[in-house]
């Protein structure tokens, strides 16, 4: 093996940083959207209305049993068809844009399972107390149940977000330029796989490892004392 030549990394740092920014953006958008959508799904699943339960169950089980790469490719190809059906005209949707939607919809299934167990961990008396105060269902959820569920589940939600951050690398399947995609494109051009892939692995490790340590610290902080 020739000597490690980190010049190739330094020369291309702007392109890599751009990729990392895209990865972070997709992560944040999918996290916020996924938690919102996931919470709605969790409430549907726990509601007393059968059709809503069925919908949420099918949604969650479906996305949890398909490989993410397949969903990424399928959405990339099917979303434009759907848009065409809705608007009647061809709107080309780039790989980078479709990834936002894909991850939001896909991760919602996982976030919803977390929110569901969070909601179930809140004691029944809390709901009864909410109703006794004259709150409606919506208010009881908004002011009483969900804040506690969210707090209980915060560490798990964040751990799932770290998984999501790593999963964004799978947009490789549709050729979007995320952090890994950027490194891969540079490798195709400069033929320095050792330096590029090692750098990607080390950066991913450093980010995810520190984040998961922070989550661990947070876990002990936010635990509600009972």
């Amino acid at each position: 093996m020739n000597d490690f030549d980190f010049a190739v990394v330094l020369d291309n740092w702007r392109f890599l940083a751009e990729g990392l920014r895209y990865t972070a953006q997709v992560t944040v958008v999918a996290m916020v959207g996924g938690i919102l959508l996931g919470t709605v799904l969790a409430l549907m699943r726990l509601s007393s209305m059968r059709p809503l339960q069925w919908f949420a169950t099918i949604y969650v089980d479906f996305f949890r049993s398909v490989p993410l790469v397949q969903v990424i490719l399928a959405f990339y190809l099917i979303l434009p068809l759907l848009l065409q059906m809705l608007t009647g005209q061809m709107i080309p949707l780039g790989a980078d844009k479709s990834a936002y939607v894909t991850f939001m919809v896909f991760e919602a299934a996982y976030y919803s399972e977390i929110m569901r167990s969070g909601i179930q961990s809140v004691s029944r008396g809390q709901v009864a107390a909410g109703y006794a105060m004259g709150f409606t269902y919506g208010q009881t959820m908004r002011f009483v149940v969900l804040p506690q569920a969210f707090r209980n589940m915060l560490p798990v939600l964040l751990t799932q977000t770290i998984v999501l951050f790593q999963d964004v690398s799978l947009v490789y399947a549709i050729g979007a330029t995320d952090f890994f995609g950027a490194a891969d494109k540079i490798t195709q051009r400069d033929l320095r796989p050792v330096e590029m892939y090692t750098t990607v692995a080390v950066v991913y490790f450093l980010i995810c490892f520190s984040l998961s340590r922070l989550v661990k610290r947070l876990q002990s902080r936010v635990a509600i004392i009972r």
Partner: protein, 245 residues
Amino acid sequence: MNYHWDWLFFFQEADDGLKYYEWVVSGAAWTTGVSLAALVLALVLGSLLGVMRTTPHRALVAIGDTYVDVFRNVPLIVQLFLWFFVVPELLPKGLGDWVKQDLPYYVTAVVGLGLYTAARIAEQVKSGIHSLPRGQRFAGLALGLTEWQTYRCVRLPMAYRIVLPALTSEAMNIFKNSAVTYAVGILELYFQYKQIIEKTSQVLEITIVATALYFALAYGMNQTLALIERRTRVPGLIAGGKGGH
């Protein structure tokens, strides 16, 4: 929507003389093979690492912890690329060339997927062992068993049965994760899915079929493990009943 449904394309002949449905079948076979082989590796290595992390030896614990931290914090696709394009360059020349030229590439893919999954299994095994009362180990030692014997005869038989539901979901995940090996040239189900879309543009039909197959594989694994779970359940525990999912 002007999408042209055509379910019969599966019976058309592709470029290589095979029919498209045969591509799907061979893809599903590769997915199953790669996943099961990786699962065996992951179970063996994961158990070993999980046990190491519960021993009183500092060094063993450190090795196990480091392994889990490293393999859980790098994306699978990056790990696979490391095994394929980086590790052979770092090995001594002769060995590196052998890996690149003579070692079948699916072995490398199985190893990559297996090592990745091992970290997750190690977590489960460790938490299973930790969920047992300390008294179990003490009782074993008091009976004159060695440390290793307390694992083999007392703690592991209980720990495995406690974590079986969690292991079930890992075993189901491995089918999904195996889709990523397409990126290093394994002709598994997702690879064929992608290829069929490129050749025929029948996105919806093949998406439905591939999804159903992935679903069936995961469901088959779930049922197999549920059977094992019923057979091996510990009498008297609350969790002795229903299968996990």
